[in-house]
Symmetry: D3
Subunit: 244 residues, 6 copies
């Protein structure tokens, strides 16, 4: 009677390192645990083959998008798709070319945060990505709920070099967001920070949203409710022959 729900995570950055199949399972279990998924929901992961090694600008975002769209187009037999980057690259265009619900971690975590507080702050990696995140908030109609966007001045690929230092920086900026900017909850502003929400929450004493698990769970919610993006908002693109 209970149907399995299959969620696909698209990682929109290239990696020179080949993942062994066992990694896939481990990753999948980790996400399921972080998102608190039921045994009936499955998670897999695919990765783009052309694009940047990390996304830290609208330029990186734009260069990753065509291959994200290819993976969205090719997705079959899945019930929900998450693009694994807080900039939500390719999500708007991707929603046009499939009937499978697609969501990004930024929209997902801003909406879930809106269900538990009135004003939240994002704590992200670099000053350079702040304008793109605020652009997202404005585009999603949620700018009034964004107390601030703070950053820890650390590139994505350095986040796991010294996790204690990363956490310390997150705590410092998180506290300022709460005390100076009026944040009532925090959102980790980079999916490279996945798994750090719980410790940060313990330190700063407010709810902290982990955007990748939040997006995975929210797309499961759409799938469970048999909902998908509106075709009036994301119409099917007219057919045409591209030169690529």
């Amino acid at each position: 009677m209970y149907n399995t729900i299959k969620i696909r995570i698209i990682t929109p950055v290239v990696s020179r390192r080949r993942q062994p199949p066992s990694d896939q399972d481990e990753y999948s279990e980790r996400i399921k645990r972080l998102a608190g998924l039921s045994s009936e929901t499955e998670v897999d992961r695919v990765r783009i083959e052309k694009g940047p090694p990390s996304i830290e600008s609208r330029y990186d975002d734009a260069m990753a998008t065509p291959d994200i769209l290819r993976l969205i187009k090719e997705a079959e037999g899945v019930d929900g798709i998450v693009v694994n980057c807080f900039c939500d690259p390719g999500v708007k265009a991707g929603r046009e070319i499939t009937n499978i619900p697609v969501i990004g971690p930024c929209l997902a975590s801003m909406l879930v945060a809106s269900s538990i507080c009135e004003r939240f702050s994002v704590v992200t990696v670099l000053k350079e990505v702040v304008p793109a995140i605020e652009e997202n908030a404005r585009m999603y109609g949620l700018m009034d709920k964004l107390a601030s966007t703070r950053y820890i001045e650390m590139p994505v690929l350095d986040l796991h070099k010294d996790e204690a230092k990363t956490l310390e920086a997150l705590v410092e900026q998180g506290r300022k967001a709460i005390e100076e900017d009026g944040a009532q909850a925090l959102i980790l502003g980079c999916t490279g920070m996945t798994g750090m929400a719980e410790k940060l929450s313990e330190e700063v004493g407010v709810q902290v949203l982990d955007p990748l698990p939040t997006a995975v769970k929210l797309v499961e919610t759409l799938a469970s409710l048999r909902l998908t993006q509106s075709k009036l908002t994301y119409p099917v693109p007219p057919e045409k022959t591209m030169i690529l």
Copy 2:
């Protein structure tokens, strides 16, 4: 390894009819089916004992609220609470007196609708409840996404007298919302309409949100993600002795 998530639905209207225990199971199965819940999520229902037989005004809402708050205070061993009325009665106050996540169908469906479209309309029962629904949208900071609030001129307690007629009225107002008001998705504006979303969606050709299952699934999402309402937004009330 997988923990059961228990959701409690508080029905905020009184009923003279005693529910036999078998009803409870049937109701629970129906909600689980509508919300597409996994086998590991359980749903039960309680009902207020003092208040109105239906909620169709802010006055009804206010008169139901003290007993809703009693049930929220008494809730134990549950992981999420949904107040089963589109006015979201008692939710704001209830969030202050518990650490269990509490949500209402109006906020839940407006946020989930915001994840799949840019502008949605609500189709509700009576003209009299329109101002309260728009007040909710304004309070939730989502007014810009509300294309319109339409009504079928039918009291809550008549919705199931002739379901074909109810559906017909929903289709008529739903179509107007799409064609005249620019709605890209619809929300049923009364939890008395639970179960009617699928047929309406087939008729009007856009996504339709069923607010009670949506709220049940969204509070499950909060529970899975180990999130609850922010205590900076919903502080614990100072202790005091009431005269009641």
Copy 3:
């Protein structure tokens, strides 16, 4: 030729102390003096019998509301009603069940402040009531005019224990609101502070609104102009039998 206008103040907190009738007159004269009312306007006061001893949370607000609504329903021979608490408890529901104009001190003082400046701050009692006040401002469509909501960290029932200390705290927060938040006028954020506006204004050098007298005078304005709440915004609730 000139008709008397009778204003009723509903105090939405219980008191164990019985008021002697002479108190009534004294109270009435005090309010008339603070509001600068003409000799032709009369003020009386009633008090709820069931509810909290002070309102410092949405929970207190909700628990006071049913008895406030009883007093609004029973009001006869009066031309205007003010609910004496800055949270405006019961006002929205109360406006549905009477044709007598009803107003709360929060809405009244925010609107009158909007007639004399562009941005104002509220200075209230406790951090815990800030979210409810900001919710009011958002619901009233006046959030853009609210420079900040500051608090003096003093419970309602302590305000008159040492009035010099209370004033000092108000001056401190009022000055910060003006200098740091850009407030051009201040509103006392608790009707327990009634009578403290003049001294605060002298100290901080900007206009300070006293919310209870402001509400009394604004409801007199509605009565004089023969205006009352719109029945399209506050429709008469459908008749029904409550179980209470």
Copy 4:
């Protein structure tokens, strides 16, 4: 013990006809009756000597303003000033040069309407004044509450040529505002319509605000509460020598 409050109405249009002193009393009594003022409030009227015979454009407004400002500067022994035109000409500048509270009928009636409903419409004279009225609403931060601005296609100086016809046109546009635009109350959009609110209200069944009496009563409210425009919003202009 009760002090008289003196309100001065500045009529910002020139007239070739000399008013006999008796007119003054009659006018005063009429305004007092319409505003429901107490016997302790007095009203007088002055008129500009240089400017247009009616205000139906921003150009007329600008040409009337210097003489309005002269009258505001010269005002002595009064407790409140109302500029008698729905465009609120000269009010912003006038507030800078006096400590007496100054208000215009547009701001006054929009704020008082905001105290009784969520959305109101203005019904004015000519299409040409609509942009100026909407500019006022935007400047006052009340645009979201303005359901529409409708007009009866009749110049100011024709309003009293056939009052039945004027009323008929008001009823027609008022009904459309209610039924098509969602207005919950109406505001007469020209002080030349003073006195027509009651009949219009009877015909259309919603509250109708008469802007001149509303402004007179609201400035009395400011005077009673010992409030005036904030000098942080309307600073005293630096002294300088004009060439005039």
Copy 5:
């Protein structure tokens, strides 16, 4: 003393037809005439080599963007860049990778329209592009000025098949925008309509903005004023090795 200003137009759609060099001059002269440029401003045009033949969806936009970015990166010796499509594809990312001012026709025409009216409508090609245009308006913070987005149900590549028919359709939708939606000026919502503004304006009697010439002239304005996009809004992307 007067320096030549060189503007480059990037046409973000592929074409199988090879342009003879003479076309370049003719095109350039046409744009200069439509934009009313001085003899000292020069215009040239380049075209992407990979991407779609027309842009009618966010998907087309995303697929055209990498090659647009290549052309922006390669641009040398020019003083301003315009991306020739009303969706403004690649503009945000492109602004990060150059110090030359880059603008798109949608932002340019919405800002210039904001300098001459309060509310404008866009008339575009297909219903499918409406959500993307409204998304732009929201992202640019100009949604309140957008009276409506209307469409003529004609694909980009059909616009010049029967120009009289295209004009007729524009007139029909333009009139509705003015009469029903309150537009005070119109913007052609597709740069395929370049050159049609004058005739449309004659027919409908309001100002009509032609977005490509408007963007060319506005980027000339930035160049003249020695302004370019802020590097705080469009930071230089961190250097990294892409796999392409």
Copy 6:
């Protein structure tokens, strides 16, 4: 083939000093250089004869306006008009009485700033003019883009007494706007500061807009594009006989 575009600058302050004709040419060349105009655009200047010596309040603005309007009405043979004061005095009314495009430096620079960044700050002369500038931003619908309005506490007529000191004060406030208020670009908030943008930009490292040259160039843009203010926004005032 190329037509000359003639721009008239109206200086809305009186001066006792007679300008020799040579000054006119020098002034014109300076503005052309600052705005980077082509050799085909001409600039002349006229000055009001009645009004204040500087504009530092809404009162000054109102007193200057009638003579500004006379100069707008008399303007012949010009293609664009700029009113040379950051308060944009007389612009709204002036747009009603001519078909020549009229613009003010405040609107012009806020719109051009909106084309290069998301949030800008204004740095002006005195605290007293801040509310009028924020009123402009609100009226123009651009308040969300205004990060802050800072001032250097120096009257207009002192700006050139010690330019190094003026620049120093601008640098100080500009830096605070960037670092504390989140400004991504700056606007000089007084046309008395004309010519100081370049040096300020060098010091603070962000784009700085010089409002007078910006307005001159933007009105040239309107003239080139054959655009002018919409007559639906700025209708022709009904004819009437003023008493002046």
